[in-house]
């Protein structure tokens, strides 16, 4: 069991509200990702759940029990840190055993659980090494091993992949997702990378300046963003926004259209423009088009398409996939 509920949680640093009045329910077994730009309060929110920071007001419940005033040691949560935070003076075995030792489990039990975790994570050959003798990926695994042995109520991940290189990140992303499918334990995962959020999450919390902008499944956020911030944050490449005069025919203060929801042609269409940079990725091509009266727009097209710098083109948005926003940024439906 591991449901987490935040009820009107506030966090102030001095007079500055880092988390202004957040309420949120995370169901048992869910994989929830907190995503947002740096400084949006996502790590603080995670640390509040962990108990590493005290709330200024509000209640945090784990499985319905009020844990607001309990320390991190009493909450039975496990956390994987961005820096891995392995104990440098202990071997891998001792690192993984540490939470069990703190829980005063028997020596035989500890040995068995450490062996099991090491086998799952392919660390058996490294048990007697010190963290400094391991690669980044292995360290990450040790950090995960240390988190899983104790069978916590929930796992908290604080940007665990940002110290790894791009290729490894993709691998570890899969490993963590797989781990979640095996364990079916609640996971709360903090990242600034919307690709990680989209690919890993059951549900995503988009945060901006400490506020929850939207909470929903990845596809909900992609298909019907609640506001301009979410629309711009979710999706890669970013959504194009048409502002001011050009947006007024659509009856909105601004209009958004995703790069993948536009057709590009040489002879006819809605908006005329000229290709600036063309990024040929092989599978896709991202064309950055200077559109007359609108500005720069990104278009996603097939990989084998022959548009190059300086070509005159016409763009046509898919009318059913246009997002309209009011002056305050809220979506108009």
């Amino acid at each position: 069991m591991g449901s987490i509920a935040l009820e009107h949680v506030n966090k102030f640093f001095g007079t500055h509200a880092v988390i202004p009045d957040v309420s949120l329910t995370i169901e048992d077994g869910a994989f929830v990702v907190f995503v947002g730009p740096s400084g949006c309060g996502k790590s603080t929110l995670l640390r509040l759940i962990a108990g590493l920071e005290d709330t200024s007001s509000g209640i945090i419940r784990l499985d319905g029990e009020d844990v607001t005033r309990k320390g991190p040691a009493q909450r039975q949560l496990a956390m994987v840190f961005q820096s891995y935070a392995l104990y440098p003076h202990m071997t891998v075995r001792q690192n993984i055993a540490f939470p069990l030792k703190m829980a005063e489990q028997s020596k035989e039990m500890i040995a068995r659980k450490v062996e099991d975790a090491a086998r799952v994570l392919n660390l058996t050959d490294y048990l007697d090494r010190k963290p400094r003798q391991l690669s980044g990926r292995q360290r990450q695994r040790v950090a995960i091993g240390r988190a899983i042995v104790r069978q916590p109520k929930a796992f908290l991940f604080d940007e665990p992949l940002s110290n790894l290189d791009a290729a490894l990140r993709v691998n570890m992303r899969l490993e963590i997702t797989e781990l979640h499918q095996q364990l079916k334990t609640t996971m709360v995962y903090v990242t600034h990378d919307q690709v990680e959020a989209m690919t890993m999450a059951d549900r995503i919390v988009v945060l901006n300046a400490g506020r929850v902008e939207q909470y929903g499944t990845p596809m909900e956020l992609y298909r019907s963003p609640a506001n301009k911030f979410v629309a711009g944050f979710i999706g890669s490449p970013k959504m194009n926004f048409i502002e001011g005069e050009a947006a007024s025919p659509f009856g909105a203060a601004s209009v958004g259209v995703r790069p993948e929801h536009m057709l590009i042609a040489r002879d006819r269409g809605e908006w005329k423009g000229r290709v600036g940079v063309a990024e040929h990725l092989g599978s896709d091509t991202f064309l950055h088009v200077h559109v007359d009266g609108i500005g720069l727009m990104t278009v996603r097209t097939g990989g084998e398409i022959d548009f190059f710098h300086g070509d005159d083109v016409w763009l046509t948005p898919d009318p059913s996939r246009l997002y309209r926003f009011a002056r305050d940024g809220q979506a108009l439906r």
């Binding site: 991190p72 496990a78 956390m79 104990y87 030792k101 703190m102």
Partner: protein, 275 residues
């Protein structure tokens, strides 16, 4: 060409370093030499460089006042005060490094400022307190005083070392279920061993050499080696050779400790600076 310049530079700096080292070591060296001279040779002018290697000073010094008792007192006082100071300072430095308040820096500065006061300024009240509590000439009394006077330095040193430890690791321990004392014992202290060891060594040396309080608050029972040396500069006149023998005996143990632990000391004192 470039290589010969470097070599020349190297030689100059090496010579300079040796000269400075010799200058610093010379008083100690001369004290040791003098301790092996008869009294007449010790005060001879021009000075006699090669002593006649007599051990009579040592025999006389030991006969007049028991070296080993003073030595034992020195060990008790310096090691005892250091261990007690560490017991107080480790949690204090933890709090200041990892749970600071807006006033932490002020508290640190205030603690250091107590070291700027001349000790003699509080001699009379301290003496009276010691007298009233029956602590005069007791090992416990001296241990307490030395603990207190060195505590600011111990806290400062540990604070500096602890600041180098990533707070993530301590937080990880908390998440792993470690309560405060387990966090200190299993994670913080083992990680700060180099820093704690050099603090320990430095503080033992400071306490060993402390001469103001140890001389003023003791008579005979609790007198450590500093008092042992000073007892040889008597109103009847200075006996240089015996004084030198007493000094040599007093500094020998700490010199050996310093020599054996120099690598640890240097590593600790430059901790964080070179990384």
């Amino acid at each position: 060409m470039a290589r010969s310049v470097t070599l020349q530079k190297k030689l100059t700096f090496t010579a300079l370093a040796w000269a400075v080292a010799f200058l610093l070591f010379f008083p100690i060296f001369w004290t040791i030499l003098t301790s092996f001279k008869p009294e007449a040779q010790a005060i001879a002018s021009p000075p006699v460089i090669i002593p006649s290697w007599t051990l009579e000073n040592y025999v006389e010094v030991q006969a007049r006042s028991d070296y080993f008792r003073h030595f034992a007192n020195s060990v008790w006082i310096s090691v005892g005060s250091t261990l007690i100071a560490l017991l107080i300072a480790i949690p204090a430095a933890w709090a200041m490094a990892f749970a600071p308040t807006p006033k932490t820096k002020d508290v640190l500065m205030w603690m250091l400022s107590t070291k700027m006061m001349p000790a003699v300024g509080v001699l009379v009240p301290m003496y009276l307190l010691f007298h009233d509590f029956g602590l005069l000439d007791t090992v416990w009394g001296l241990t307490m005083v030395l603990t207190l006077i060195n505590l600011p330095i111990v806290i400062w040193m540990l604070y500096t070392y602890f600041k180098e430890i990533p707070v993530d690791i301590l937080e990880a321990a908390r998440m792993d279920g470690a309560v405060l004392w387990k966090e200190l014992v299993y994670v913080l202290v083992p990680m700060a061993v180099p820093g704690i060891a050099s603090t320990l060594l430095l503080n033992i040396i400071l306490a060993w050499n402390e001469a103001f309080w140890t001389i003023n608050l003791t008579a005979s029972k609790a007198a450590p080696l500093t008092a042992f040396i000073s007892s040889f500069s008597s109103p009847q006149g200075l006996f240089w050779a015996k004084l030198s023998a007493a000094s040599t005996l007093a500094i020998a143990p700490i010199l050996v400790l310093g020599w054996l632990s120099q690598r640890q000391l240097v590593r600790g004192l430059t901790f964080g600076a070179v990384k």
